[in-house]
Amino acid sequence: MSSQRSTSSNKITDDELNALILRLQTLLPQLDQSRHGRVSAAKVLNEICSYIRRLQNEVDGLSGRLSQCLDSMDLTGFDAEIVRDLLQQ
């Protein structure tokens, strides 16, 4: 990567940027580092965008599912028991 610095106030170092990109890569299950090693930053960002879109669509779909479920849901009997159960894997 060229180290030509611009006069912009965003003097990000290559290292900082690489660290951020690497962290994003670890969030991607499909770009597991043990199998793929270092991946280009552009590819990471590409995958990140697809991943975000997928997650947002999932939230969308789940909202739809819940809106159907709510018809038959009885939430009045709600208590700490259920919440605890929810939060346990």
Partner: protein, 178 residues
């Protein structure tokens, strides 16, 4: 991010509690007889808003993206109260770009008009800057972040999204078995 599932102050717990409270409220508003498709659709919208709002509020560290989400949700509800069906462009406070939000089902599909000085082409990694444009449209508030912040916020945003999906999936599974 906190990964202790039983930790009452973890993001997951905070989100779960808030979201469930919202669901109970939405559930209470439904009619006695079975719902029309239109009612179900409105419920879907309300649930989606509740999910995003619950997550944004649960982000105690006050991230840029969560602030942007809350701001967007508030301005959307204000518009809906003012006059139903009106579609207008909203100038965001924090950015110099114009974001036009529609009341379509995917409220995240904001169309951003980029002004020329938003194109950070003076950055070292020009290729990255181009990729980042797409990311800016996906992460709430992304238009006004510099590249470093954008990447940082993205990591946090993704973690929150996965938590959101995880909890919503569990709730849906729990109640679709009844």
């Amino acid at each position: 991010m906190d990964s202790q599932h039983l930790n009452p102050s973890s993001l997951k717990s905070r989100f779960t509690a808030r979201f469930l409270r919202a669901l109970i409220k939405i559930n209470a508003q439904k009619p006695i007889s079975s719902s029309s498709p239109r009612e179900i659709f409105q419920r879907y919208r309300r649930i989606k808003v509740a999910a995003d709002k619950s997550m944004a509020y649960s982000v105690r560290s006050r991230r840029t993206w969560s602030r942007a989400t809350l701001w967007k949700l508030r301005s959307q509800s204000r518009r809906r109260l003012a006059s139903s069906g009106r579609r207008s462009s909203i100038k965001t406070r924090t950015t110099t770009t114009t974001t036009i939000t529609t009341t379509s089902t995917n409220h995240r599909a904001a169309i951003v008009e980029k002004t020329s000085h938003e194109k950070e082409n003076k950055e070292d990694h020009v290729g990255l800057a181009v990729q980042a444009e797409e990311l800016r449209e996906l992460v709430p508030g992304g238009e006004s972040m510099d590249l470093c912040n954008l990447l940082d916020e993205t990591a946090h945003y993704i973690k929150c999204l996965t938590t959101q999906v995880q909890v919503m999936k569990k709730i849906a599974n729990l109640y679709s078995l009844e």
